[in-house]
């Protein structure tokens, strides 16, 4: 069997695993965004205690390996879950939780930077019109901060896609783990892994294009460097 026949044979299994990888990425980045936004707002707009707690969370998840976090969540927590009468998480749920909690810490930092990049006068102007702080954040600060954060957010999406291979550590068959199993079964490591790599590559290219398109659509006229500028 040549390379292409082999890849053709394993492709259905790889594609099923790719769906798992995409699900992990979407749920990880999505839940990470919601939690990260909450953390960023807490960091910027609350005082010492709450802001400090958010900071400890962010530092913890950025200063420890994702693999270790995943192992704690999947293998470390079940006894405590059982102790309070909960069922342990499935591999899929555990991987989503690990990716989401981890990504939240990074997204929180990107969002915090973006929020703080909005000139403070705009908040003053909004408040001076009688808007509440919450209204000002929602209508004035966030629409701009989210545009600013989009490039780093695109990186975060791609990183999460690649890091979703921690699924291996919770025995969840994602694209990476599927290719490992195939490599071992047929003794064709290069063929199996290169096929997986190409699939990752295709997904990353498609995502990057989509995000570049979204960025261009949301660009604020007059604010960015001219497209034709050198």
């Amino acid at each position: 069997m040549n390379y292409f026949e082999f890849v053709g044979m394993i492709l259905p299994r790889l594609l099923r695993a790719t769906v798992v990888t995409l699900e992990l990425t979407a749920i990880g980045v999505g839940s990470g965004f919601v939690l990260g936004l909450f953390l960023a707002l807490t960091r910027v707009y609350t005082h010492r205690v709450l802001s400090g707690i958010a900071n400890v969370y962010i530092q913890f998840f950025r200063a420890t390996p994702l693999v270790v976090q995943t192992l704690i969540i999947y293998f470390g927590l079940p006894p405590y879950f059982r102790a309070i009468g909960l069922r342990p998480m499935s591999p899929f749920v555990a991987a989503c939780v690990a990716l989401g909690l981890n990504s939240a810490a990074y997204q929180a930092e990107y969002l915090r930077g973006a929020i703080q990049a909005i000139p403070s006068g705009q908040m003053l102007a909004a408040r001076s019109m009688g808007m509440t702080k919450a209204q000002a954040v929602r209508s004035v600060i966030l629409p701009q901060a989210l545009r600013i954060v989009l490039p780093s957010w695109s990186n975060e999406l791609i990183y999460t896609l690649l890091y979703s291979s921690v699924a291996y550590f919770v025995t969840l068959e994602d694209l990476t783990f599927a290719s490992m199993k195939i490599a071992a079964k047929y003794f064709r490591a290069f063929d199996a892994y290169s096929a997986a790599a190409i699939l990752y590559l295709v997904i990353v290219i498609l995502l990057s294009r989509l995000l570049a398109y979204v960025e261009a659509r949301l660009r604020i006229p007059g604010l960015s460097v001219d497209d034709r500028a050198r």
Binding site: G121, Q122, A125, S128, M129, G130, M131, P221, G222, L223
Partner: protein
């Protein structure tokens, strides 16, 4: 402008405001009163507390002591709904502070929708009218980054006007502008003053002050040193310091802009 003495005509009353930043006492007991339709121009050296005074009026800065009334509502009272009070006090900033992600039209409409709870369609109609009033009918679809400084400042004036404020506070509205753009902004402000808008203007444009100020207030070191009509202040025999300052800024800024 004829002075009406009935107390009900007082739009704004500021009583003994004090404000401290760390060790520095920036406001050391400032009191003033503004009647309907009056324009008061505040002048004074940099760092004297003029901006702080304006911010303490709408509570963007919280004064340490003293009281502020908007008509018969005491806005320094903790129980007063401060957002409702601020919605009635326009504020125009030195550096415009337009919302960068919104067109001129949406900048003006935002407060109407969010604060006044006006339906979006009505808000846009009103915003169009206000922008036309400041001479920007052609620019409603432009984003702030696509406008000149003078145009930005006129949008920010339209944004304040749209809220139907009882008074407007201007904090050095032309200080960030290139000289050739100052005139178009002052022209709008002169029209407002002549149209009966109640306003406090921190500005060193003496031409403007002479044209429309009912009173000029000279502030220095956190207190009001002098208050009087333009004529009184320019010829004030008592107040050496005010005279010096006036001569200096007249030299610096000239008198031609306000017409």
């Amino acid at each position: 402008m004829p002075m009406d003495t009935s107390a009900s005509d007082v739009i704004l009353r500021v009583e003994d405001l004090h404000k401290r930043y760390g060790k520095d006492e920036v406001l050391k007991g400032v009191s003033l009163e503004l009647r309907r339709g009056q324009t008061k121009v505040i002048i004074g050296p940099s760092g004297t507390g003029k901006s702080t005074l304006l911010r303490c009026i709408n509570q963007l800065s919280v004064p340490d002591k003293g009281r502020v009334w908007l008509e018969d509502v005491e806005i320094t009272q903790p129980r007063t709904n401060i957002n409702q009070a601020r919605a009635q006090i326009g504020f125009v900033f030195q550096d415009f502070n337009l919302f960068a992600h919104l067109t001129a039209l949406d900048n003006v409409a935002l407060g109407l929708v969010k604060v006044r709870k006006m339906p979006k369609r009505d808000a846009l109609v009103r915003a169009n009218e206000e922008l036309a009033r400041v001479g920007l009918a052609e620019k409603v679809g432009s984003y702030p980054a696509e406008l000149s400084g003078g145009q930005k400042q006129r949008v920010s004036i339209a944004r304040a006007l749209a809220m139907d404020p009882k008074l407007i506070l201007f904090d050095e509205p032309t200080s960030a502008l290139d000289p050739e753009l100052i005139g178009e902004v002052l022209e709008v402000m002169i029209q407002l003053a002549r149209g009966g808008m109640t306003m406090i203007v921190v500005s060193h444009e003496m031409g403007f002050a002479r044209a429309v100020a009912d009173r000029i207030i000279f502030m220095e070191g956190g207190v009001i040193l002098e208050e009087g009509t333009p004529a009184e202040l320019f010829t004030c025999p008592r107040c050496e310091r005010t005279g010096q300052f006036l001569r200096k800024i007249t030299e610096l800024y000239g008198e031609t802009n306000g017409r």
